[in-house]
Subunit: 349 residues, 4 copies
Amino acid sequence: MKNTERTRVAVVGASGYTGEELVRLLLRHPGAELAAITSRQFAGKSLAEIFPRLAHHATATTLRFIDVRPAQLAESAEVIFLALPHGVAVEFAGPLLEAGAKVIDLSADFRIRNAETYKEFYTHAHPAPELLPTAIYGLPEIYRDKIRDARLVACPGCYPTSILLPAIPLLRARLVESGSIIANSLSGVSGAGRKAELDYLFVECNESVRPYGVPKHRHLAEIEQELSVAAGGEVTIQFTPHLIPVNRGILTTLYFTPTATGKDPKRIDAAFRASYADEPFVRLLGEKTLPDTKNVVGSNVIEIAWRFDPRTGRLIVMSAEDNLLKGASGQAIQCFNLMCGCEETAGLI
Amino acid sequence: MKNTERTRVAVVGASGYTGEELVRLLLRHPGAELAAITSRQFAGKSLAEIFPRLAHHATATTLRFIDVRPAQLAESAEVIFLALPHGVAVEFAGPLLEAGAKVIDLSADFRIRNAETYKEFYTHAHPAPELLPTAIYGLPEIYRDKIRDARLVACPGCYPTSILLPAIPLLRARLVESGSIIANSLSGVSGAGRKAELDYLFVECNESVRPYGVPKHRHLAEIEQELSVAAGGEVTIQFTPHLIPVNRGILTTLYFTPTATGKDPKRIDAAFRASYADEPFVRLLGEKTLPDTKNVVGSNVIEIAWRFDPRTGRLIVMSAEDNLLKGASGQAIQCFNLMCGCEETAGLI
Amino acid sequence: MKNTERTRVAVVGASGYTGEELVRLLLRHPGAELAAITSRQFAGKSLAEIFPRLAHHATATTLRFIDVRPAQLAESAEVIFLALPHGVAVEFAGPLLEAGAKVIDLSADFRIRNAETYKEFYTHAHPAPELLPTAIYGLPEIYRDKIRDARLVACPGCYPTSILLPAIPLLRARLVESGSIIANSLSGVSGAGRKAELDYLFVECNESVRPYGVPKHRHLAEIEQELSVAAGGEVTIQFTPHLIPVNRGILTTLYFTPTATGKDPKRIDAAFRASYADEPFVRLLGEKTLPDTKNVVGSNVIEIAWRFDPRTGRLIVMSAEDNLLKGASGQAIQCFNLMCGCEETAGLI
Amino acid sequence: MKNTERTRVAVVGASGYTGEELVRLLLRHPGAELAAITSRQFAGKSLAEIFPRLAHHATATTLRFIDVRPAQLAESAEVIFLALPHGVAVEFAGPLLEAGAKVIDLSADFRIRNAETYKEFYTHAHPAPELLPTAIYGLPEIYRDKIRDARLVACPGCYPTSILLPAIPLLRARLVESGSIIANSLSGVSGAGRKAELDYLFVECNESVRPYGVPKHRHLAEIEQELSVAAGGEVTIQFTPHLIPVNRGILTTLYFTPTATGKDPKRIDAAFRASYADEPFVRLLGEKTLPDTKNVVGSNVIEIAWRFDPRTGRLIVMSAEDNLLKGASGQAIQCFNLMCGCEETAGLI
């Protein structure tokens, strides 16, 4: 049975790139009614003033940013999206949950189940460890049923999505050595957020390619947590992010050493098909073509291709996604659809 | 007679894009010895730390940014380049001149001869109007001899250079109506300087084209001043700058109504040839080809092409330059060469 | 009354950028059923193979390019979109119309009412002048009613749309001198089509800005035709297109000399409001903000802003559009909606 | 002792990106006189016509492309640069060498010592295997002395340079497992050459990131040949090239498993310093900063940085170079300088 009434939703911290994407998607979502958008910085301004590209929507001139307390927000919306920096989202989540709202958090605050791991990677104690057991990791292809019943969803990071979806089927089927994983990722600049920093100026990024966060990027915490679940044992991986001069898109190239059974290409193919053949947002390119970010930017699709290298015996898996959609706001809407009984693809195709 | 000794020079405020270009050019200049670079923000840091792309130069690890008073600076260098924001440069120029140094200023502080006009466009009274009569406008193709003897050179802005060099020969020869001039300019993002502002983030500039400063950009003050000199009477023009997603380059398209004599293409051609045929940094494309910023970026050259439109009777003149070179630091070096008796092209080819 | 059945449509020559956009829009259009796509080059291939970014649509693997005669095509579709080069489209249009289909042509073949003018600008005699009187110029904001009843719609070019929508209300209201118009346009590279030519290679376009087609671009024929209708007399304009390094987007800056009545800003404002206040795809920015291609790319919206320059007495009007949407395929869908009784915004918001 | 007379040189096939760079560098080289440039396609045209950006050089209007036989060419120049496609260069090299000229070849024709390996990777028998033993691999940091005496230099490919310079010192010192090497490379579009192919159109490359040539790119032949020499045994590596939207620049990220001795960071540091501390074109960033293509584009410098990952035990080494300079034409000039007794940095700083 499908939900026929629109669910009232709010977006907290709707002034960054993921917030803008959320608002854009929710404005045209058949099952959502955007009841409130909040921003301390832009309180009082209309949506049309702050995001001119959304100005032709009917509500763009009437919908205004507000700056309210979590409790008030829970009165006007049933589902609240948090598009806030990590460490800030947690302050909203508790009161909102207590007031009966469902929360879809796009920050890192609820992605890590182990408070110690959180502290190691985020350098401060988790402020609300009691909430961690209730949070569901918002990767629908992996946790679909749990997301349906969740009250608190922690949406995966952009890099983690691009690594986990290709790697999990291989680890689950024991087709690759869990200690062999190297993930080389390339991200568009919107991944850094809308921050006025010299490093992200046009002139500093254009005609530039550079690695960063080597060798211990924060996203490793959630990546390894989820890979370990899939492998049934602790997994540590190599991960190198790079900044490239595109607005959007992540291209990840993964290197694996196959196990004895993983040396059979048919099994690789079968593992991917078994996991994703019916997934609306996973496009399996197999051994035929190669991913390209321009084929996924603007959509919630992740492309996955693979090749065996007979010379080295390694398996190479490549994925492409839009970091703001499948890597953030699109995936959040996919979770929302599951939580509210909408078609999973509602508002996304 | 050519100068055989190297002139000791300093760059004040060497931390922006024009400052970096000045330093890069001076490091390889056969007639200059870079004695000092100053920056409040980077004092104590080496050149190599702040500008990694210059790190392979011999002095890059030994030359360090300092934060000194103008008087001290005049002891270590004979010629001082000021790469400072307008309003700040003027504070350095006076003491430096008094201490006997020559000053090449890249800001707007000494470009406007009339203190009232300065106030109109820069919204505050000029802090040192007594210096204005001594300043020479640093456009070598127009003021070569005066620059040779100058103690204070005011380098033209990037847009003004792209407009003045094409327009002055036409106005001087009375080939165009002085009230008919429209200048439509497109600039790369480095023209906005190295400022951490949201508007100049990669994501805000990439895949974006936009006009700004319509209709009264500050550069109009110096553009109209110099066009009026050329025309022998007051000239007011239309000028619309646009921001385009390239690092460097200005493309200006100028529209003129020709006078009766200006309707003869041979006269247009003759006027440009008479002015620029022997200029090392002006490339006359005439009616054959069209300018392209990629053909001038990285060089001190300005390209100029023109076309008559028999349908409308108008004359269209197009120019292309590197905003950081012919539009700023390259032109400053050209002035330096004149002031110090070097070959005018020294360090620039 | 709204159409409730889906109209069967076909896209001929669906292999270029406008064809791809048409297909993308039609796949998600609530009132259209994409019955056929044709391409000589790709006949036999599936949509998913040729346009990977559309591969997640349900029909992308089953819908295959075919290479058929016009008469056959008319059997499978009621409305045929022609995304062919000029000179080729005309060969399809006649037989299709004869077979009873409606034709929406995106080429230049039916835009010019006067066969002589066509010959002047396209350098060969028009092959089917008898069809010209039946063609309607597909600018819905100007010819809405005629488009509703049309059997042959000639969609405007990308530059013309960006010039005509801002200029027509001003000419109609006699607010600007019809001989004073200068249009300076900047276009993204997709405007050149998907052609394997050196000039459009990444390396030749990136970090490059250049004028082209100076001073007599083919689009002038249709621009001046429509401006003349609006002005009630022959209009000749100045038009300079430039190529800039973005995928999509046209930014046009127009310069006008106002008439005596046009000197009153309120009348300018009133003229624009009277024409466009209720238009779903025209966003009037007035004197408040300035257009930016990034705010319209991906949508069928055209932004229009204006400023008076009290210094020069001129009126500056600026527009921004997505050259592949409002400048081509989006506008074609807008016409389709009118022709088929759909909501005018169907499939476009 | 330094050469004081200029060496007469010619560039064959000077119409692509590497050819243009060679010409640009040779025009300002203090020890070279550019006697001839050849191109079948452009024969009769002046340098200024074909490469407008070089048009301000004194000889640009007088130097014209010619189409001559190798023997004739050997009369006018002592050193001939071949900037031709592989398979074509070899046809010129034999006759030129026979006629007494020295040859610096930028194609792949003489990089592979083993004719069988050549056949495996380039799919046809080597046309002149007798010349292979005389060719010296033009990597000055590795083969400086041999290059000095060479008559035929085979300049390394762009990817190989970015991989070999970081990897060779580690393999020579037995600090890394030779079977563990993974090279993930990102290249600007100029690496594909100036070819009118759809894949390299602006619209296809801009806002796109994609792997290609997976898993067996031709450059592997020379990379593994040279790594095997360094390791003293056969080395097979994993190599994945990617295309990114910049004009120039290669960023390579290398993953190694250290040997027992290689686990000591001091030894890694020592190995790099021992190899490159005095090299004018290798910038060792060590463990302090990270490479960025924008810091090397326009120069002949390669940046190398490294990090140990204590979590995985792996060593990550990253390099950045300009693919057209250190990866092609700049390195060719460096070889030329060695062969002709110039300063190794002549014309390159």
